[in-house]
Symmetry: C2
Subunit: 302 residues, 2 copies
């Protein structure tokens, strides 16, 4: 298949899989009418806000790339999206990034108040682990499921995502050296993206060699994703992104272009995505969707 | 053994087990010097703030009551204390209860700032599940460990503790009917106390009959604990409690004495603790420590 064909095909696959992820989220989240209603409404308001579902897609693609089924990876896919959503809800709070809009809609705490914003994030994070712990209808071995839980928690916690958010807050208004910026990025967004592909592989029964391919892919893709994000914040169109372009600059956020310059950032993202594609070549045809997704990340506009 | 003897003995057991829990927390929390330091310092500041470790003790006692060992229940004990601590850190935030002091010390966000307060809570909650998922050296079956994870998450999430906190915030300044107050209490503090005894039992290999005894005990003890808490807030000594007595009244919190009166509350707590003691009688001598703990909860001054 030509590269353009693969990418056109990828768009259809992504749309179809997003539909499956949304259906699973719908099924596994408590109903909005369940008391106390406010917390369940707030959880759903944030989850169904038009996200790209990148982390679930990485888990599902990673699972299929090693011969697993979509059902094998769906609990992890759902948990990853719940954790990603909670991190956005807490990030938007007044004490954190203080954002009123996300994806073109008022943020959770603007609609439900700050206390419910905090609690909705807490509930989403907790529910992720309930989904992972709950045994109903999952065919993969219990030991593997425990490993998936431990890996996701490690990637989301103080050594991963929360650690990156801590660094991000402490870095505001400061000039960062390149090494610190790379550590910040690898923790703040890289760790969860990387673990998404990995736990997909674990759910699909990956052996050590295949898991190493997926891990290398996830690392490269995760860093490239953040660099592209930083570039889009400078060059992007506010309407397409659903948030205000240039907000990193105004908030004096540590970004890749700020430290390395725009041209070097573009070159680095291209290099990383090339490495990501190479990393999944040993998986053969089954890894082609992951390779195509690397192109998608490089070409994204929002 | 006489009742007074059992209670004196209980004090020694509690002190010894608290020491073991603290050692496990010390071992399983990331070191304070681990970068980013601020988040790890804030996590430890809140965990090592002189808590009673009631939830870990319930898990350890519940496990021994069905013939399990302390090692079997220690991961759950640690996870429960991390979750309890995170809930206090977030509860104290300005947007929630806005408390400057807890147990006689400045609260986490007063020391580290509001953003780190939010993130430290997030990290503690996440770390709880990392401890539960991590396989190292635990002898209980993987399926049981998944059940423990699912039950703890359910008790801590929007149907349990977070749901209770949501109700609590929405109830401030309102007169609650008795049924709503009981639901609020059973979610806010009851669910985590109840699950603490249950997962101790699960870790210890309890059969259905023993688990039913522990569940009944945990339910009664959990509700009694909250009623005694409410009474202490009215009658207690601020110095002994490490927080300001009467704060529920000032914050117009929904409390048991406010709805049922002080005398009826006292009678109800005595009745519930008697039922708790009865619930563990079928477990024989091994359940005696749990029975003694019910007396301790009834007699506590802080």
């Amino acid at each position: 298949m030509s590269e353009a064909g693969a990418i056109r095909n990828l768009g259809e696959i992504m749309a179809a899989y997003r539909g499956l992820v949304d259906a699973a989220l719908e099924r596994w989240l408590p109903p909005a009418g369940e008391p106390p209603r406010t917390i369940h409404e707030a959880m759903r308001y944030s989850v169904f806000a038009g996200g790209k579902r990148l982390r679930p897609l990485l888990a599902l693609f990673g699972c299929e790339a090693v011969g697993g089924t979509l059902d094998d990876a769906m609990p992890a896919a759902v948990a990853l999206e719940l954790i990603h959503t909670y991190s956005l809800v807490h990030d938007d709070l007044p004490a954190m990034d203080d954002d009123d809009f996300r994806r073109g809609r008022p943020t959770c705490h603007k609609v439900y108040g700050e206390a419910i914003g905090i609690l909705a994030g807490d509930a989403l994070l907790t529910h992720a682990f309930q989904v992972l712990g709950d045994s109903a209808g999952v065919g993969i071995p219990a030991e593997r499921r425990l490993q998936i839980i431990a890996e996701i928690a490690a990637a989301a916690g103080s050594a991963g995502m929360v650690g990156g958010q801590t660094m991000d807050i402490q870095a505001e208004g400061k000039a960062l050296d390149p090494e610190t910026l790379l550590t910040l990025h690898s923790k703040k967004t890289g760790a969860l993206l990387r673990v998404s592909v990995r736990v997909g592989g674990l759910a699909g029964g990956a052996d050590d060699a295949a898991l190493a391919c997926l891990t290398r892919y996830g690392e490269r893709l995760g860093l490239a994703f953040q660099i592209v994000d930083d570039i889009l914040d400078i060059e992007g169109n506010s309407a397409e992104m659903g948030k205000t372009a240039g907000s990193d600059l105004r908030k004096k956020k540590a970004t890749y272009p700020a430290v390395f310059g725009l041209d070097a950032s573009r070159r680095e993202s291209i290099r990383l995505l090339e490495e990501a594609r190479e990393a999944v070549q040993p998986l053969g045809e089954k890894g082609a969707v992951l390779a195509a997704l690397a192109d998608f990340v490089g070409n994204r506009r929002s």
